[in-house]
């Protein structure tokens, strides 16, 4: 078929027009081989602009389209839609970025114009070698696997479960609830934590679309977004349960920092030194007391334990330490409580108020460094350096340590099973810190709650809701899912069966066909990075829309 290339140069209002000599650009590319029409337009992405393009494509019978405008990050999709509306395949088009990487980077109009011409020529050279690609859709399973039966997992289960969407919740311990079950109350409302959880767990029990596995671990997750195969092993049961889901949510929570790494706080060396969790449990059981059964008259809460070692602030310790002051004041009103902290982390709309209401008589906040706990007669002695650099000490009956939050011990194993990576502090890595904080590098695998990083209950609920929302929006019962089109492909006749491509693929998207002795790409899993294409020694692998010829054409323009 004869190629009829149409080139449209966008002025982008004054954005490109003022920096690039557009008429010169139009003149320079109009006589190129295959180009049937070159036009400029004020603003191609506007409604009028899109309509104009559509009409032009039809009028000139354009088969291949080049747009010279802004970055493909901005409007690549916009003009793909125009192509579709005009009846040409959206992959038979190329966008030359003459704005962000051309018009805006130099004051020299001549140079900018020259560069724009080269960029457009490169796009024209490339587009000649474009092939039509068809949208691909696959059947998907709307069910979801949620790992971790804490507040994040429970909340997500309830958000997601419906008659046409089954939820499998896998909890490694023998009961649901997670960390929060140890707390008597939650901050800042100081409502019993059972208020948050009790009703939700009752709802879980009643919901027949939720299947809960306790005392169980996920052993295997294979497949891809829309179609994962899962194996779950229950303790002391030989045969694993097997089922299929479309998405996976990791809500595995967190652990506390190992206090063996900070011997200066005297934990397990002296009596009456408790971790935050031990103190929560003691408080929940009713009485706050010393080992000898007596009531403590003075208590030190040491914040930021393990912060230096971990290299991050755990966000929640200051707030639960303030809550501990409330616990203490409720049960022992005249107790002296001293807080040793390096920074107070009390952000947000209600925490400051909580702090103001908590501090007061017999409550001290001491900004300190080099905190050390030793024993002195029947008491514990806190040695520290105060804000002015002076050495100081304080005698107390009881010490509570607020250790850093860290990932659970099985985080690496789970990351491996789910095919995702670990980021800062060893927590599961999000796809993008700001833009995609609940997605991961593996499509269809989401991370929520403390598994993603230290956070409080409200943020955990927000995240589990966000991940549930993403699943609800993408895995719709009865609806097919669109998958990546620009995947790799391995030519059966060129493949020499060396398996190099298999070794470089991050997604396990390539398998080896033992009968034919060749590698085969599973295009449903392939994300289209093109690593296997660069690695292939026999030229058998190619990446659609980024073929050797297409890139080579751009390259030729650069060396001219």
């Amino acid at each position: 078929m004869e190629r009829k290339i149409g080139v449209y140069v966008c002025e982008c209002g004054p954005n490109i027009a003022e920096k690039v000599d557009i008429d010169k650009v139009v003149g320079a590319v109009s006589s190129l081989d295959g180009v049937v029409v070159v036009e400029k337009y004020k603003l191609l992405c506007s409604a009028d602009g899109k309509k104009f393009l559509e009409e032009e494509i039809k009028k000139h019978g354009i088969t291949h389209l080049v747009i010279a405008a802004c970055s493909p990050k901005q409007h690549e999709k916009t003009f793909m839609e125009v192509c579709e509306n005009a009846g040409i395949n959206p992959y038979l088009y190329q966008l030359a970025n003459i704005r962000e990487q051309c018009a805006w980077i130099t004051e020299d109009k001549d140079e900018a114009t020259k560069k724009a011409i080269r960029l457009i020529k490169a796009a024209i050279g490339r587009v000649k070698y474009h092939s039509s690609l068809e949208k691909k859709e696959i059947e998907c399973n709307p069910a979801v696997l949620i790992i971790g039966g804490g507040v994040a997992g429970i909340n997500a289960s309830l958000e997601l479960a419906s008659p046409d969407r089954k939820i499998y919740l896998v909890e490694k311990t023998s009961s649901l609830g997670g960390m929060i079950t140890n707390f008597e109350k939650t901050y800042p409302s100081m409502q019993p934590s059972s208020h948050i959880l009790k009703q939700k767990i009752l709802d879980m029990d009643k919901n027949e679309n939720i299947q809960v596995f306790i005392d169980s671990n996920v052993e295997e997750i294979i497949g891809f977004f829309g179609n994962f195969e899962i194996k779950v092993k229950k303790k002391e049961v030989d045969e694993p349960a097997e089922f299929e889901v479309g998405a996976v949510m990791l809500a595995t929570g967190s652990n506390f920092f190992d206090l063996k790494k900070t011997p200066q706080y005297g934990y397990e060396k002296f009596d009456n030194i408790f971790t935050a969790l031990e103190f929560e449990k003691m408080n929940l059981s009713g009485e706050i007391s010393l080992k000898n059964g007596k009531t403590p008259r003075s208590v030190a809460i040491i914040h930021c334990v393990g912060r230096d070692e971990k290299g991050y602030c755990s966000e929640i310790c200051c707030m639960y330490s303030l809550k501990f002051i409330r616990y203490l004041k409720d049960k022992i009103p005249d107790a002296q409580v001293s807080n040793f902290y390096s920074d107070l982390c009390i952000p947000g709309k209600s925490y400051q108020k909580f702090y103001e209401q908590t501090k007061g008589k017999n409550v001290d906040f001491i900004r300190s460094t080099n905190v050390e706990v030793t024993k002195k007669e029947n008491k514990l002695s806190i040695k520290y350096i105060d804000e002015n650099g002076n050495k100081n000490s304080l005698l107390v009956d009881m010490v509570i340590l607020a250790p850093a939050i860290e990932p659970t011990s099985d985080v690496s194993e789970l990351a491996e099973i789910a095919g995702i990576s670990q980021g800062d502090g060893g927590f599961f890595a999000e796809e993008h810190e700001k833009l995609n904080p609940v997605s991961t590098s593996t499509d269809g695998v989401y991370i929520v709650g403390c598994a993603q990083g230290p956070k409080n209950i409200s943020d955990t609920i927000v995240q589990s809701g966000a991940a549930a929302g993403k699943i609800l929006a993408s895995l719709i019962p009865g609806k097919k899912m669109e998958i990546e089109v620009k995947t790799s492909h391995i030519s059966e006749s060129f493949c020499i069966g060396c398996k190099v491509c298999i070794s470089v693929c991050s997604y396990g998207a390539i398998t080896f066909d033992e009968a034919k002795k060749i590698s085969v790409v599973n295009e449903v899993i392939c994300r289209g990075c093109g690593n296997c294409v660069a690695a292939c020694p026999s030229g058998a692998a190619t990446s659609k829309h980024f073929t050797f010829k297409q890139i080579h054409q751009e390259l030729l323009e650069a060396v001219k």
Binding site: S71, P72, K73, Q74, N97, R99, E100, Q101, C102, A103, W104, I105, T106, E107, D108, E111, A112, K114, K115, R118, L119, A122, S421, G423, S441, K486, V504, S506, Y507, R527, G528, C529, G530, N531, V533, A534, A535, S543, F546, F548, I551, H552, E554, L555, L556, E557, A558, V559, K560
Partner: protein, 143 residues
Amino acid sequence: MKKDEEFMPRILAFLCNWCSYAGADLAGTSRLKYPPSILPIRVMCSSRVDPLFIVKAYLGGIDGVLLAGCHPGDCHYEKGNYYTRRRFALIKKIFEELDMEADRLLLSWISASEGPKYAKVATEFTEKIKKLGENPAKNKIFL
């Protein structure tokens, strides 16, 4: 030499879609200035860059090749940039062995938020290539 005859090097930049291309866009949206000598080619991942592209460009007479991707650990495709790093080390070595100018090749990690870094790398690399002068391969017959 007259001003308009000043040597303007031809530099090719392979930029990964997710980090470096976005970083280069950001340099533009921030209106940072850098020499227009760089012609960008967008690839989905820096690991798509077949070393042959670099050899082809060099033998074709390109004055410099910049290869840029996400920072180690930040690859959109998990570990593509680690492969890029290894391949780049290899191609440098091959260039050195064959007495081709390995200094004309540059690998840089530029994230989507590092517009200023892209402008800086582009400026400094252009300056460096200007000092090296035209790629002699332009006029040499290699094969």
